[in-house]
């Protein structure tokens, strides 16, 4: 008997805690138990419109039956692309109930990327949000012979499209209604046939390693395993207000919004538009938020940026309040009392400054804010902790689910928390060990389902019955795990010193003036240096205030004053680094890094090797000790044209750099 079968049997006879072993069965349960309770809310026409579980179930049912009548079979794939909207989630429910699997794409992928993912996942239907996504699908449909229909839910701008492959979401539901009268019970039968080992989702890796994205198989059992792991560790309650903002193309939202949303269930709130999210968080009174560290960072930097506009009194009040809040938060997290002064005045400060600030950010009701994906700067943590928002770090992998999380009241901000517990229904408890290279190996729980149609890549990740995470983690004495780097990313200088490039980058990125950083240094280089992508908005405003005239981004980035500003920021971070691994030289990039140019992944992670190649000559100049570098950077505009940016890039020594040069 294979391991998979064992687990399936186990799930079948599980503890009463687990009520259903697939996601569609949970949907059915929610409809039966809470048919008249609110499931979805979306702001439309300026008002929060509500869907009950009954509404959601019947919408999903007729859409699912529509797909079946159009020829969808069990085990096939349905592609979805669009923002987080009710139809996006309904498409997930419908396809999975019909026994199909889902591949969800980020709304900003380019047509060739989308074509690869749809082809690799063998999608037979493509469900698009609007005209923008339909255009992508139409552009590549000739290379996708399997695709039967392209379905869209927002008809705006689609008035003149006549391609017979196109169909409206509501038309498919109409077909479903007809199909239901002719073949009653098909939808419910489909749900009953589902098994926990069925593939629910293919989630593609972001391709940071340079190779083509691989489709990670996420089965119903694996998703439910992760959901149950989180439920045991994080404060949760049924029907809490959850704001769905991160894309379901990212495995995290599959685990939270889609799986936990059905399992708990949540009230799923969908923002009106991506631009209105900050406003919507506040209107919803979101109780649970799952953001990537970048999104938490941007939330905190909106405050930082606004404080720059404040007057002296406002700024000093904010600074003082934050300092006291941070002190109290540090005490609370470490489980020791903060200083007496701080403790006494904290309630007052909270009432006057921190609570209103928290209210403005819409975090007043937030009980479970979670950050996951990559490491987060401690400053970000303290920013939210100071105002009483108990932000928690979470660590996990698409391949084996969520692994660790900050739990309880006392935890350390440098860590990613404790290992979670697995419900026995899904498998053995999680076990882990750290290799000599620093790599974390894990086994237990539902386990790794493999990469889709890629046995070779699957085998690479498996060592006996252990799964190789490829991440370097360290265990602390108190049992919390510290995330260091990707194993391949810890780097050594030619002097033999090892340094943590990500740590440097994260710390620098916390500066409101810096948007992205690439830290340089390897066996061929004697010291650490950095390429900086300044934040045009905040630096622009900073320059305006000081009457510094500039024309374009390249011009702004190379201004003497701006270079000095950035130098100051780097000097600050250097103080917390050991002297051998400090940043000695840096340069401001004359253009912004852009996912459209493959410099960043869609989750805004840096494509390191690509960048080092693209800026190769500039990097050489830094290490040759030159002070300027004349360059021409190719730029691809959104409308497809290309151009050249010509400029002299200045290379600056930091204080630490000046000392060494002497």
């Amino acid at each position: 008997m294979s391991r998979r079968e064992v687990v399936e049997i186990k799930v079948g006879i599980t503890s009463e805690h687990i009520v259903a072993d697939t996601l569609p069965k949970l949907l059915l349960r929610n409809r039966e138990n809470w048919g008249d309770r609110v499931a979805f809310r979306q702001k439309d026409l300026g008002i929060w419109q509500e869907w009950t579980w009954e509404d959601v179930y019947s919408e999903a049912k007729y859409f699912g039956l529509g797909l079946i009548s159009l020829g969808l079979k069990r085990g096939e794939t349905v592609g979805i692309i669009g923002e987080n909207e009710p139809e996006n989630f309904l498409s997930h429910y419908a396809a999975q109930a019909a026994g199909a699997k889902v591949v969800c794409l980020y709304p900003d992928v380019t047509p060739p990327e989308a074509q690869y993912l749809w082809d690799n996942s063998e999608s037979v239907f493509i469900i698009c949000e609007d005209q923008e996504q339909v255009d992508k699908a139409l552009e590549v449909k000739d290379q996708l012979p399997r695709v039967k229909k392209i379905i869209y839910w927002d008809p705006r701008g689609m008035w003149k499209y006549t391609d017979p492959i196109l169909m409206r979401f509501s038309e498919v539901q109409e077909l479903g209604r007809k199909y239901d009268t002719e073949h009653p019970g098909v939808f419910e039968e489909g749900i009953a046939q589902g098994k926990p080992g069925d593939i629910a989702v293919l989630s593609y890796t972001s391709g940071t390693t340079g190779a083509r994205p691989k489709g990670v198989i996420m089965s119903h059992g694996g998703l439910l395993d992760s959901a149950c792991r989180v439920e045991r560790r994080v404060i949760m309650k049924p029907f809490l207000q959850y704001l769905s903002y991160i894309s379901p193309a990212w495995a995290t939202e599959q685990m939270f919004g889609l799986t936990m949303g059905l399992h708990m269930p949540f009230i799923l709130n969908f923002p009106e538009e991506p631009e209105t999210v900050l406003e919507n968080i506040r209107e919803v009174g979101a109780e649970m938020l799952v953001f990537s560290p970048r999104q938490w960072e941007s939330l905190s930097s909106t405050v930082q940026a606004k404080m720059l506009d404040g007057n002296f009194i406002q700024r000093s009040m904010y600074k003082r309040a934050m300092a006291i809040g941070t002190e109290v938060a540090q005490g609370r997290l470490a489980g020791r009392p903060a200083g007496i002064v701080a403790r006494v005045i904290y309630p007052l400060i909270y009432l006057l400054v921190l609570r209103p600030l928290r209210d403005k950010l819409g975090l007043l009701k937030t009980i479970s804010p979670v950050g996951g994906g990559s490491a987060m700067a401690p400053e970000i943590f303290y920013f939210f902790q100071a105002m009483g928002v108990k932000l928690r770090n979470m660590y996990g992998m698409t391949e084996i689910g969520l692994l660790t999380v900050h739990s309880g009241e006392h935890y350390s901000l440098e860590t990613v928390g404790h290992f979670m517990q697995v419900d026995p229904a899904f498998g053995t408890p999680l076990e882990w060990r750290v290799e000599e290279t620093g790599e974390l190996l894990v086994r237990g729980g539902w386990g790794f389902d493999g990469y889709y149609r890629n046995a070779e890549a699957t085998a690479e990740r498996i060592k006996g019955d252990w799964f190789c995470t490829g991440d370097a983690l360290a265990l602390r004495e108190d049992g919390e795990m510290v995330y260091l780097e990707r194993v391949g990313d810890m780097r050594q200088l030619s002097t033999g010193v090892r340094f943590p490039p990500q740590f440097i980058e994260i710390r620098l990125r916390f500066s409101p003036f810096i948007k992205d950083v690439i830290s340089l240094g390897d066996e061929t280089k004697p010291f650490v240096s950095a390429l900086i992508n300044i934040d045009s908005e905040t630096v622009g405003r900073w320059a305006e205030k000081r009457g510094i005239a500039y024309s374009t981004f390249p011009d702004l980035s190379q201004r003497e004053q701006v270079r000095n500003l950035i130098k100051g920021e780097i000097d600050k971070v250097n103080q917390s680094l050991p002297s051998e691994s400090r940043v000695l030289r840096f340069t401001n990039l004359p253009k912004e890094l852009d996912p459209d140019e493959a410099e960043l992944t869609r989750t805004r992670k840096l494509r390191r090797s690509f960048l080092e190649e693209r800026f190769g000559n500039l990097i050489n100049s830094i290490y040759e000790g030159k002070a300027t570098f004349p360059t021409e950077v190719p730029v691809k505009y959104r409308d497809g044209r290309t151009g050249q940016v010509k400029t002299d890039v200045g290379i600056t020594d930091t204080e630490a750099g000046k000392e060494v040069m002497k």
Binding site: L45, I47, Q49, R156, G157, K160, R168, S170
Partner: protein, 280 residues
């Protein structure tokens, strides 16, 4: 509680049933031999043209050619010394601008004519005023039926906000917005009138390339989605060539050419007017 299913919104039938676009269309606006002079300067000199239902008609010409003057004659700001304007077969030459607006002539302005201190929502709401049936006294006491009417208008306004994708600035004061967004609010206000024809005065002036492309998209959406005929005055030839069905070219107050973009592109008179070079 207003419950509207996505895609079933009224906005897609704001101006009545969407018209089939490829049928032969009636003339909706006819300008006949308009002459307007300021003292001895002839701003418009005997201009005549027709706009058909369901088309985008562009009026182009070099700076100072008399395009805006012509538009002002159509919507009644200027009273031409000679000539007639017919709207849906009716002579409207003697009507005041607000009467013409009530008939269904919506327009936007070249310079921004928006209330800086008002919110976006209120500004667009102000475009609804010709559809409001209640008087100030009733509004003051805010009877239940006033509330009901307010809701109806708000629904239309929200649909326009959705249509032009300005949800995120709904409650901001106009004075805080960028130029491109103000222009979009101006357009939203014109749409709130539920115009039977939309007159746009240099909507792209002062915009960057991306803003221009966005706006061109919105103009096409209004045309395709609402079926509203549009007269667009513009001196940026390139954008106009891409979106207009027919073009009227004006120079020195006179119509010097009329036709499809392809015809206009090769018309020697147009090339001369634009480049100032004689090609004969």
């Amino acid at each position: 509680m207003v419950k509207v299913r996505r895609g079933e919104k009224l906005s897609y039938r704001l101006s009545g049933a969407a018209r089939a676009l490829d049928v032969e269309h009636a003339v909706i606006l006819k300008v006949e031999d308009i002459t307007l002079s300021f003292g001895r300067i002839k701003a418009v000199d005997g201009a005549s043209f027709e706009a058909r239902d369901g088309e985008i008609l562009a009026i182009i010409g070099p700076n100072g050619a008399g395009k805006t003057s012509l538009l002002n004659c159509i919507n009644g700001f200027y009273k031409p010394q000679q000539g007639h304007v017919y709207f849906q077969g009716k002579d409207i030459s003697r009507l005041s601008p607000h009467k013409r607006a009530e008939l269904g002539l919506g327009r936007t302005f070249q310079g921004l004519q928006v209330y800086e201190g008002m919110s976006v929502l209120d500004t667009i709401m102000s475009g609804r005023h010709i559809h409001m049936k209640l008087n100030p006294a009733q509004a003051f006491f805010y009877w239940p039926w006033v509330h009901k009417e307010e809701l109806e208008h708000r629904l239309v306004v929200e649909e326009i906000i959705d249509f032009l994708e300005i949800e995120h600035i709904r409650k901001r004061p106009i004075g805080m917005l960028s130029y491109g967004l103000r222009k979009r609010v101006d357009l939203a206000r014109a749409l709130a009138l539920e115009p039977k024809i939309l007159l746009l005065d240099e909507p792209m002036a002062g915009m960057n390339l991306e803003e221009k492309e966005d706006l061109a998209r919105f103009i096409l959406d209004i045309h395709e989605g609402l079926g509203t005929p549009i007269v667009i005055v513009e001196h940026d030839m390139e954008v106009v060539m891409d979106i207009a069905h027919n073009i009227v070219v004006i120079d020195w107050g006179q119509v010097i050419a009329q036709g499809t973009p392809a015809e206009i592109r090769i018309n020697p008179k147009v090339i001369e007017a634009y480049l100032g070079v004689s090609v004969t």
